[in-house]
């Protein structure tokens, strides 16, 4: 009960101890969110550095910057870091950690100690992965396909998969914590259908984390066993079957793309109603669509294996199921659009990011349907079309939404405003740079340029130069927020509790929030998103 005292002592969570030790041993979900935020950002820039080298190499058709072997290590580093150390934890672990308890009116997550442990798992796994890089890198691609990874690769596979394995525990523990928190710690009156969609999205994501990550962990252990003991599980020469690896790997890794994109959808669903001043259109359908995507996401992994030699009947089933995922995804896009319709729209920085998310996610999703069509995929698989597709979803979608969320909740997290004009400029720059980088890759892929090569026939050069130029703009766009957000920490004007006049519970407490979030546990009497488009304020009902 000593906690009551700190609460009465007042002060926000940031002034609750300034030493490094107070941060590294904190059990406050808001501080743990910062631990994630800082470490995730660091990894993002390491992964980005690898991308830069890749794009410089591809500016000319000859492989003149790096050797083919180095190139393999570069795209592996880029993929591994971006997927496991950036995309998967970014929104849930950083923004989710900060917001989930506040959005449901709780004082913290159900298991604060476990939450801190999750971050240590994350950091430790990240260090292993970096160690693999420093030791010389890995050349298998982020998918670690067998039998190459088990028998032929002479790179640091074991070190890298150890890192990924450990990071997996961070995911599992975070997911467990979120699920229990949402079930048991909602404030009085916060019924399931009053939950903000961000909470729904992170809840569904947590279910995927908890059910899929252990499968990946065990698959990696099997890979390690085969590599170290030479038992045949995956290697056909030893009696094993490489398809088994692909099934197990994609059973995790397809749902993993929903781990990346569902929270992003959650972010968009918070920002869009706020800056359109409207109740989100079809709230219940939005919630059901989230659950639908999470569920169907478990049934479509085989669309990564159309050319692997699995049975054509299996491929047909996976193709049809993949089309099914489009239905709930389309529901979401249509409902965001309908929310915008006749809204009082303000094009603030978070809104620009959110709208960018919707547009890019839609393009990525539609090209996903192209890839889900069996016959087309046989032509497009392992070309730049695929690269473009997943960058539209993951970078255009998830990263855009992550930045949007960061801008939306920055005033809450820090108590400061950033310069709005800079925020808008960065959003526009990123959108433009992104499209210039990745749209040409659709054309390249359609024209037949394969992925994972460090040289290519000269006729592809023009589009590659466009793409590299776009990447430079994109990089500038990503660096800008780093500058002005840091600036705002010291010079930004005070935000006040609710600068956007938003309706969520997190806005009903001070910015930055007190140590235990609320002075008194709030009672919820109405639905989420009660915006009034006429007055532009909160609706009275």
């Amino acid at each position: 009960m000593h906690a009551r005292v700190t609460e009465q002592a007042g002060g926000d969570y940031l002034s609750d101890g300034y030493s490094l030790r107070s941060w590294l041993t904190t059990r406050d979900h808001k501080r743990i969110a910062w631990l994630y935020l800082v470490s995730i950002t660091a990894f993002f820039f390491v992964g980005g550095a690898a991308a830069t080298l890749i794009r410089i190499e591809l500016a000319t058709p000859q492989g003149d910057l790096v050797s083919s072997d180095t190139y393999n290590r570069l795209f592996t580093a880029h993929g591994v870091i971006m997927v496991w150390l950036f995309l998967i934890p970014s929104i849930p672990s950083a923004l989710g950690n900060f917001l989930m308890p506040m959005m449901i009116g709780a004082r913290d997550l159900a298991f604060p100690r476990l939450n801190l442990a999750s971050w240590y798992f994350y950091l430790c796994g990240g260090i292993f992965t970096l160690a693999a890089l420093i030791a010389g890198g890995v050349d298998t691609g982020w998918t670690f396909y067998t039998p190459f990874s088990t028998m032929f690769s002479n790179s640091h596979v074991i070190l890298a998969i150890t890192g990924v394995f450990i990071v997996g525990f961070s995911s599992i523990l975070t997911g467990l914590n979120f699920i229990v928190t949402v079930h048991t710690m909602r404030a009085p009156g916060m019924t399931w259908f009053r939950l903000p969609l961000f909470v729904w999205a992170n809840y569904a994501t947590s279910v995927i984390l908890v059910l899929a990550t252990p499968v990946l962990a065990m698959t990696l252990l099997l890979l390690a066993a085969e590599r170290l003991l030479h038992v045949g599980i995956f290697d056909p020469a030893l009696g094993g079957d490489p398809l088994l690896f692909q099934h197990l790997f994609w059973f995790y890794s397809h749902p993993a793309v929903y781990i990346m994109v569902l929270p992003a959808m959650g972010v968009a669903s918070e920002i869009i109603p706020c800056f359109a001043r409207k109740h989100v259109f079809g709230y219940r359908f939005m919630a059901y669509a989230i659950l639908g995507i999470a569920t169907i996401g478990f049934l479509v992994w085989g669309h990564h294996m159309f050319v692997s030699g699995q049975s054509v009947y299996a491929s047909m089933v996976f193709s049809i199921l993949s089309f099914l995922v489009a239905i709930p995804s389309a529901i979401k896009v249509f409902n965001w659009t309908a929310t915008l319709y006749k809204g009082r729209i303000t094009f603030s920085a978070p809104m620009l990011y959110a709208l960018g998310f919707v547009g890019l996610f839609t393009i990525g999703g539609l090209t996903g349907l192209v890839l889900a069509s069996l016959a087309l995929d046989v032509h497009l698989t392992d070309t730049y079309f695929v690269i473009a597709h997943f960058h539209y979803i993951m970078v255009g979608g998830s990263v855009m939404a992550y930045f949007g969320g960061l801008h939306f909740w920055w005033p809450k997290m820090t108590g400061r405003m950033y310069p709005e004009m800079w925020g808008r400029a960065a959003a526009v720059l990123i959108f433009f740079g992104f499209n210039l980088t990745f749209f040409p890759q659709y054309l390249l892929g359609y024209g037949g340029m394969p992925r994972r090569y460090h040289s290519y026939p000269p006729e592809f050069q023009v589009l590659n130069i466009l793409s590299s130029a776009g990447a430079a703009i994109l990089a500038a766009g990503y660096l800008l927020p780093l500058g002005y957000l840091l600036w705002s920490l010291f010079y930004g004007k005070r935000a006040g509790p609710n600068p956007w006049h938003a309706t969520g519970l997190e806005w009903q407490t001070a910015s930055p929030p007190p140590r235990r979030n609320f002075e008194a546990t709030p009672t919820v009497t109405r639905e989420a998103y009660m915006y009034d488009p006429v007055t532009g304020r909160e609706s009275p009902q």
């Binding site: 159900a110 467990l176 699920i179 048991t184 252990p214 962990a217 003991l229 009696g239 197990l248």
Partner: protein
């Protein structure tokens, strides 16, 4: 019972703990998933090899172990009820018996492993299987056998440590540590480890022996 600062009251805390354990067990089940999937994959691809290999397991010891584990589960259930009824001595006695049965299980398992090691059934360079035709499939079977039973034994070991910790807590009269709620959560875990074995026993020991 101590209530952590994030909770309002004891029921909420208890609900969170129990629910957390259920979710944890779901993740555990998924951990075994790839091995079980690998097993069914191997069995559908090399049915005869897997059957031949499975006939080499020590069915008597496996059966004995099943009985040991089921008994432990019964005692665990009694321990939980005793805790709830504040029958501290009974609860402690039962927990000690549960841990003892856990040890017995591990000892029997160890004896099996020693047998298999001597017969060169351990996968890797030294693997040898009497029926050379089936050697590759048998190696996969034995790999999965060791992985599954090893993982199970690891869980059991953790369970034993947990049960002993609660028994010790009760000895010191420390009901705040060994509260009925916590012992119940530990019981959930123990039953789960049992249930896993109930699946492993038929697929590893019995399948090849039918027909």
């Amino acid at each position: 019972m101590n209530i952590a600062e994030q909770f309002d009251d004891a029921p909420q805390q208890e609900q969170a703990a129990t629910f957390g354990m259920w979710i944890f067990l779901a993740t555990e089940l998924m951990f075994f998933g790839p091995l079980l999937f690998g097993y069914s994959y191997a069995r559908s691809h090399f049915p005869e090899g897997v059957a031949a290999a499975s006939r080499h397991t020590e069915v008597m010891l496996g059966t004995l172990n099943t009985a040991v584990l089921l008994t432990s589960s019964l005692l665990m259930a009694i321990a939980v009820q005793a805790c709830k009824a504040d029958a501290v001595r009974l609860a402690r006695g039962m927990l000690l018996l549960v841990a003892a049965l856990g040890f017995v299980f591990l000892a029997i398992k160890g004896a099996e492993y020693r047998h298999e090691w001597r017969e060169h059934l351990f996968p890797g360079a030294g693997f040898a299987f009497a029926d050379a035709r089936h050697a590759p499939a048998a190696e996969i079977f034995y790999f999965l056998y060791f992985a599954l039973t090893g993982l199970h034994a690891l869980h059991l070991t953790i369970g034993i440590v947990m049960v002993l910790a609660f028994a010790a807590g009760l000895l010191r009269g420390g009901r705040s540590f060994a509260s009925a709620e916590r012992v119940e959560v530990a019981g959930l875990y123990w039953h789960f480890v049992d249930v896993i074995w109930i699946f492993l026993y038929p697929i590893l020991y019995l399948v090849g022996r039918s027909g």
